[in-house]
Symmetry: C2
Subunit: 144 residues, 2 copies
DNA sequence: GATGGTCGCAACATTTGTTGTTACAACGTG
DNA sequence: CACGTTGTAACAACAAATGTTGCGACCATC
């Protein structure tokens, strides 16, 4: 499975912005967030851009520009972030179409599709149960 | 997320072997399975090798060699296959360690780890509810 | 014991997706 | 206008899955 850290980094960015705002700042820059996440500012801008399209954050340009939350942290769930940031389905079908002349090759894709849909629905329900406020609380609860 | 078809192909192989055995044959070759799945025999041998290590199938060598089921299809769940075939966790952490001097950078990994573990446990429970017998039934139920 | 078909496995190529980097235009505050 | 930041494209680097080739190991059959 492709090691995919997009959800982790996106959650990191949201928590960081929120904490920074609670300290009285209006906006956070991609530079600051990238330093905390130990990555490149462009990576952060790309991810936050997707979150903006999903209506989770806002950005301002010009001098003194940066990112701010568009919604309360409590109202944002991991599912919101996941859907904004993860493109495809969890499990993939065959790369090349299986032999349609074979009973198994013919029936396998609809069969697995149905099964996978149910499983992904459960995953989504689970992700929807965790808010970013929960995440931030867990972050702050880490033992020093 | 990296489009990952290992679980799909492994389920395909198991269903194919079982159906072939039900038609009176003792063993199935990687060549035959590869033709049905439209892939390379070595890919099938690699996957089935992992299933053999997990005790789900057996292989015989020499002339007239091939693969057979080590357990009833009803007793094999998608979780068995998933664990045999998928190496890593579903979600990854940061590629580079985040800034440990930052509150968020310090607490994010334990926080997400805990959350992810719960979610993966749910996923496993869901996978365990589906047997390969269910999969084969769905395959045969595909409308002609 | 020779033959031939199949697995086991290593090595490498190909493909796909993510992440990192550089560069620069667009923007808007001061 | 000057400056700092976003927006985005283009490309490099990296990683993982998949595909391919080659060949030794094995063993039923003759």
């Amino acid at each position: 499975m492709s090691a995919n850290s997009r959800l982790t980094i996106a959650a990191h960015a949201l928590a960081w912005i929120s904490l920074y705002q609670r300290q009285g700042h209006a906006v956070a820059t991609s530079e600051q967030i990238a330093t905390s996440a130990n990555t490149n500012p462009v990576v952060i801008r790309r991810l936050l851009g997707e979150l903006r399209r999903a209506g989770l954050v806002e950005s301002r340009r010009g001098v003194g520009a940066g990112w701010s939350l568009a919604r309360e942290l409590e109202s944002i769930t991991l599912l919101d972030v996941y859907e904004a940031v993860e493109p495809g389905p969890l499990f993939a079908m065959h790369r090349a179409t299986p032999d349609q002349g074979c009973v198994v090759g013919y029936g396998i894709q609809p069969a697995m599709q149905g099964i996978y849909e149910g499983i992904e629905e459960t995953l989504r329900r689970e992700l929807a149960r965790v808010t970013l406020e929960d995440v931030l609380r867990d972050i702050l609860a880490a033992p020093r």
